[in-house]
Symmetry: C3
Subunit: 417 residues, 3 copies
């Protein structure tokens, strides 16, 4: 059997595994796209088109969706080398009946119309989930999300704590917290009560994880109650983030929720960037900043995503040593084949296989789950072939079992779904 | 067709593309080598021979060129595993009629004599340019270069600003600036005038870029005129570099010149190193240091080279987000196949193809342009084969078109040549 | 010949080279394992089992060895994807007559019994050395090791200086130094005398290197005698490490011993980790911290190991420029195939081949030398095939010669054995 056939066979076998996607930004009340504008409004396309020279004009709110789609598709021949373009081509071919091998500016209208027809089908969500072989998908919910109106056995709630940790200095956040919990935060005690109320609400609604994204220089810290009181009372919560984070970790312990850490993003680096296309990073960060956290909370599982591939070796080593640290997927700027291939190969060589969460889609609309997982499965199949099957370490079926573990088994075990 | 044949075919097709080399240190008044000493005096060979145990003796000025060549060639069997040795072997075979597969100490005299005969041909420069298929090559000119005596349509001037930015604290620099522009710098206003005069001189002579190499800890900054005045007047321009850099960026905007940033070099780390073989780096640097610059100058294109492959992911991400940031070639310590392969693969996966400047030679003598580009083209062909042709994403001819874009089209577009 | 056959042939040829292993933690008075507990007590297995969920219970001193082995083997199906598991499988198959392809919990007792029988053979050490084709192996001896009772032509002493440099602030260390040398340290002069006595003792016993492992933020410094005196006299040697290190480098120069630097480890990051499984790192470190050292001691050879693959490019560049800096093996968290492959490929592309120490086992028991070197040789064979033989740069026998240089010749030359 030729090399390519082996990879293709492995990828095909992996494609048969029902997915549980452990991280996304899906809105469960509108999980699928309504128009092609919803698809191409995904920040990857607006970023790449803008980076390749598209003016901000077409992105204005009052521009007709069809016009915006024309502009973004019109710039595709400048970025059709990218992995992100390949996702869109897969969507066009897999969901919209597109037959071509590449997308030309002249395809914009045809695709827009096809999307109108396709996405307006009543059972479109069901169709997408079936085609995607998607069993469950995790959400990322703001702390005051009522978590009502959807099936939480499919759309699994997850408590996003970015706002609580980093924006408690805003009166708006404290008002929202007040409203969501009925507790007015005046000191560490009432802050604990309020957070407890959130955890209670989320876990009652079936939440399976807590999550946060963190800047490169962040270091969690335990603050004593007096300091927290002073910050709340006299300083508008300005220097409180490391301590609020610590309190949340305490509740993850109490409520037995894994705490997803997504480490390394600096917000608003490119201030005139497109919506959601302003964030970058400083590669100079280290997991050593989390040593106290990992030591203090042995009972909490921390699925860790790092933004840069250069930090992957830290993630490998910390996961190899700390029982409560596990590598989680391939995030954002590392979510393209060259980084996935490198990082996955490294993780497989040195981290117990039961600790590897292979992938999550990070998708905003369900249509992206399939092309993103397809990209991952192709890379995974290649790595399994090169590192295990060809050297005679594993048989094909054993390699598929290892892949299944990364794609599904570990998600079930770690998040208890 | 076997795998190797595919790569060979792609490389052959790429070899047919006329080159525009966007960065070199060629002296246009003496662009080719006069003797083998000019070739082996390239710092790569003196560095490697010295690093492998050659005493500094043969590098002294008063040593006869033939003796020096014997010494450097005599140590080649200690570093014939390197990419730099391979360039020299290519020069020996391609330009000097050498027939062997490896170079022995006993080959020194024969090669020296062959070089004497070959390089003394009247049309040698023309021959080299033709063999190299070299249409244009960028220079790196000191700010007070008269830019006279050569064809600027072939040898394209580029304003090197290292001295202005980092050595304005030396009286000698200020004297040279005075002499070159007729403007005596006493404050921000006269400094602006002097820089404007340089830009005027350079652009009139056909300059197509401004360039600078920067230490790992550098961070550009806007200084107000009063601070600049005080620095010039009372502190011998000691703490002015970030501000002078900023002024130069302003003139790049005004004169519509791309500003090449070569980020990451620490000068004179190995103080007893060979000439030009004293510079190293600190991997701990970040493009976040340029966030203010990239935000403040959206109209200026910044072709960015990074010294270390670990920083390539930052370059990929910043180029994916900022329209005015583009990845530029593979610099110095990253200019060997393993780093080129990795960095190129990453860039192709996530940066719009219209923003990728594939390569520059960085050469001091024209003879090096061919072997260095050959090395790059072989790596490029391999990456195009592995990432695009074999997975069925592009046909062979489409892959050649993508390679052509990196090798030539983007150089034309970005630098407007 | 198929690709795999080429790699297999190269690996087979490399396997015939007698090994001189330049770094291990072998106890020469007990060089081989007495029981399977000695093998699986290696921190890699206790770490991985613990990280994968094994409670600390079985690691307690009073637990019977057979029970501990059952526990560690019992967790192997959680980490049988790792390189470290593959070493154990090789030991089981190569030394213990195991016939299976993977190790199940039920194999624990059989393997334990086989090990009892095998390891109790009188000539077991001789058998292991012969099977391993091991000529010499370097030790890592505490400064007050008497170095008696073993054949120093096989077990080569090496002066480990971690305790001297980092724990001279402990009265216990100063007592041990006092006892080992008969010199009571009260100032820089007596400290020098004491260190000289250690070097004399070690070199008389055939020591061929000095070694130390260093934290990421360490920077050697020359301290004047008065400062050292004050530190010793009034501050219990608290802030003296960089200066003691410098003195040791001076004696390496005087006694012509290479000084192995193992850079990047933070001790006791995971405070409740298993024995020897508590150390991690901060990727933010740079060889620039050693610029003064490398400049000040041109006569001392520094074989440098870095803990992280991201720092490999610094190691490549510093070795390419500094004659006295040479890359040394693949250490600890980088000692798995993906990092070895990457780092080795990079080193071969740009560092003189005479300066590359390919590998060391770092082993605590002789049984590990063979599987670890086998892993390395497979990777080395693959890199030689891909980078040299397949592109037509070297013939197979030339590639084997290059591999021999990395595996053996350079160890002999650098350490003068």
């Amino acid at each position: 059997m030729s090399a390519d056939n082996l990879v293709r066979d492995l990828a095909a076998a992996l494609a048969g595994i029902p997915l549980i996607d452990p991280h996304s930004h899906i809105n469960p009340l509108a999980p699928v796209a309504c128009s092609l504008d919803d698809i191409l409004g995904y920040h990857y396309y607006t970023e790449l088109a803008h980076s390749a020279g598209m003016s901000p004009g077409p992105l204005a709110k009052d521009v007709a969706p069809r016009e915006r789609v024309r502009a973004i598709v019109g710039h595709m021949d400048r970025y059709d080398n990218t992995a992100q373009y390949a996702w869109f081509l897969d969507i066009a071919r897999g969901f919209l009946g597109f037959k071509g091998n590449c997308i030309a500016p002249s395809d914009a209208d045809g695709l827009f119309d096809a999307a109108e027809r396709t996405f307006s089908q009543k059972d479109w969500e069901k169709q997408v989930r079936e085609k995607t072989n998607l069993e469950k998908i995790f959400l990322t919910n703001e702390f005051d999300d009522p978590l009502e109106g959807f099936d939480t056995s499919v759309y699994v709630p997850c408590l996003r704590t970015d706002t609580l940790v980093f924006h408690l200095d805003r009166a708006e956040t404290r008002d929202r917290l007040d409203k969501a919990t009925g507790i007015h935060v005046v000191d560490a005690g009432s802050l604990r009560k309020a957070i407890a109320a959130l955890f209670l609400h989320f876990t009652r609604k079936g939440a399976k994880a807590c999550a946060i994204s963190l800047p490169p220089d962040f270091e969690p810290a335990h603050y004593d109650d007096e300091y927290i009181y002073e910050q709340i009372r006299f300083h508008d919560c300005r220097d409180i983030a490391p301590g609020v984070f610590w309190l949340i970790a305490e509740f993850c312990r109490e409520f037995k929720l894994p705490f997803d850490l997504m480490i390394g993003v600096n917000r608003r680096v490119y201030v005139n960037g497109v919506y959601q296309g302003q964030d970058l990073f400083d590669q100079r960060t280290s997991l050593i900043q989390y040593r106290r956290l990992f030591n203090a909370f042995p009972e909490v599982t921390f699925p860790v995503s790092v933004l840069t591939s250069a930090q992957n070796q830290e993630l490998v080593a910390y996961s190899w040593i700390f029982p409560n640290v596990i590598p989680n997927g391939h995030w954002w700027y590392s979510n393209v084949p060259p980084y996935i291939r490198k990082d996955l190969t490294e993780r497989l060589a040195a981290v117990p296989k039961t600790k590897l969460i292979g992938y999550y889609s990070d998708a905003y609309k369900l249509e992206f789950v399939l092309p993103k997982y397809d990209m991952y499965r192709r890379v995974l199949a290649g790595v399994l072939a090169d590192e295990y099957v060809r050297p005679g370490v594993l048989s094909e079926s054993e390699a598929v079992a290892l892949g299944t573990r990364l794609l599904r088994d570990n998600v079930k075990d770690v998040f208890k779904v």
